[in-house]
Amino acid sequence: MTASRVRQTLASVASVPLTLFGLILVTFLIGRAMPIDPVIAIAGDHAPPDVIARVRTELGLDKPLPVQFAIYMGQLLHGNLGNSVMTSHPVTEDIARFFPATLELATVAIIIAILIGVPLGVVAAWRQGSRFDHVVRVVSLAGQSVPVFVLGLVCLLVFYAKLGIAPGTGQIDVAYEGMVPPITGMLVLDAALEGDWDSFWNAGSHLVLPSLVLAYFSMAYITRMTRAFMIESLAGEYIVTARAKGLSATRILWRHAFGNIAVRLVTVLALAYAGLLEGAVITETVFSWPGIGLYLTGSLLNADMNAVLGATLVIGLVYLVLNLLADLAYRLLDPRVR
């Protein structure tokens, strides 16, 4: 690793705190601009004026905006995102409870999306212009065009209501609820760790529909990018060299053409994983999946400001970290960037 590469890598890591600061500032400003009065939310609608004044001072809302921001930052540094009005728990606790379900859903979805999307993109590029290529193109454009909530609802209608081959909404059947003690918070994993196979299969079957819906959403993106990268790579002179060496088609395709895009693809996959957070917000709402997306939309409808801002901030943070990983993967893995 050369000095300049180290410097660039450090620079991209160093820009993260700045972006994070901006992220916090944006959420803070959104919070202050909210039409809901946080004092009334805490003290109640009919609180006497002196109580309202006291709560206002306690919250630091009588101070100038920069001071308020400093206080907010101070609380964040202590991991304090305030209390949720809806659950009356600290927001950090809530998020810790809801986040694993999102992680479970998104991880299963990204694995499905990669396993299907990457080979589709590679073969479509290899047979560019063929009927197969056209079908892949339409399927992936459709995936980028279909609203996730419509797809989710239609899947529920067809596979749950009409065919009866998929379970309904939620993370597990009501009968099994609360049987598995939370370890990681990811129900399927916890059930496996406990050796509770009934719960495992039940939770697993609940995971199928939402993760497939979510996977289609990012599979479309992965396929498109893989195809575009592969077409570019297959046009490279080194592919002519590989053919001139007498290599087999499979070896040319995977070792030489795909080998050249693997690192860039890792970047795309990290971004796709981050993009799943967005899809997860809607998918969770449709499937009543108890993840951070459901928490966020629930808090929105209840005008629960701390919860909304906390969830937004956490999702932003995860997104930021995944973007950073994508960037680092590129810098550290590709021999050409050295």
Partner: protein, 303 residues
């Protein structure tokens, strides 16, 4: 008369040896059009988009019925001759509501694009042209906005502003401009140090003028491609906001909102929420097909 027919002839438009700059430009455009026309999917997209625009503009003529006229006795009726797509939970004609909903959706898309493209262009061109600290500051700003998933940031904005169609447009615009800024900056960087910009600078032109007259026009074609491809994203985000109760509010016939309010009937009267869903899908797919074809012609590098 003869002159005009020369100009409109295929040979003139396909000439290998154009006689003037205008001629060359027309040859290029015609070749682009031929390439676009050869792409069946892109043509399907173009025609669907045109039909959609015409249908929403002519909604009062095509709808036969008032989209907000309630008929509680005939609620949740299946599709029939009187109600082509059936009626919703308040007995309103779904066909009419879909047509008027197209107006809402396309209106939101146009509003967002009109807000976003100038902001993105301005930020990107200024950052790219001046470089240095200006560039770094502006790019850090775009990074902050890119650091949120679009829908999540839009949700937070709408919550701060108060749910409604105006807030939704502003929120989507606030989350949609960063990619345009990045694009415009990249294009600006490639021309900033060229000789002809240096020549313009030597005539004493001021920076504002150089950016407006010489740099912005160069970014326009890639921005157009990006806008077309972005349309479907805007449609989906607007619909998702509506679905989550944060966008257009009932009784406005916005497609996402229509799904939200009839979601409970998915199992029994499945067509009530499904038909607006199909409308969203078709609109978004049409723009994707169109943008995809345009990109192949205008900007093969960008994928």
């Amino acid at each position: 008369m003869t002159a005009l027919s020369t100009y409109l002839s295929r040979d003139w438009l396909l000439s290998e040896t154009p006689s003037s700059r205008t001629h060359a430009a027309w040859v290029r455009r015609y070749r682009g059009w031929l390439q676009f026309r050869g792409n069946g999917l892109a043509m399907v997209g173009l025609i669907t988009v045109i039909v959609m625009i015409v249908a929403s503009l002519a909604a009062p003529l095509l709808a036969f019925q008032d989209p907000s006229a309630q008929d509680l006795a005939g609620r949740l009726a299946p599709p029939s001759a009187a109600h082509w797509f059936g009626t919703d939970e308040l007995g309103r004609d779904i066909y009419a509501r879909i047509l008027y909903g197209g107006r809402v959706t396309l209106g939101m898309v146009v509003a967002v694009v009109l807000l976003v493209a100038p902001i993105g262009l301005a930020v990107g061109c200024i950052a790219g042209y001046f470089g240095g600290i200006v560039d770094r500051a502006l790019m850090r700003l775009t990074d902050v906005f890119l650091a949120f998933p679009r829908l999540v940031l839009a949700l937070a904005f709408v919550a701060a502003l108060k749910p409604g169609i105006t807030s939704a447009v502003i929120a989507i615009a606030l989350t949609a401009w960063p990619p345009y800024a990045r694009l415009a900056r990249a294009e600006t960087l490639t021309v900033r140090n060229t000789d002809y910009i240096a020549a313009v600078r030597m005539t004493g032109a001021r920076s504002g003028r150089i950016i407006l007259r010489h740099i912005v026009p160069l970014c326009v074609s890639s921005v157009i491609v990006r806008v077309t491809l972005d349309m479907s994203g805007i449609i989906l985000t607007a619909a998702a906001l509506g679905f989550l109760g944060m966008g257009a509010q009932p009784p406005l016939p916005e497609w996402g909102t229509m799904i939200a309010s009839s979601r409970a009937y998915i199992l029994e009267q499945w067509w009530v929420p499904t038909i607006p869903g199909i409308a969203i899908f078709i609109a978004s797919l049409a723009f994707n097909l169109l943008g995809d074809g345009m990109r192949d012609v205008l900007d093969p590098r960008q994928r």
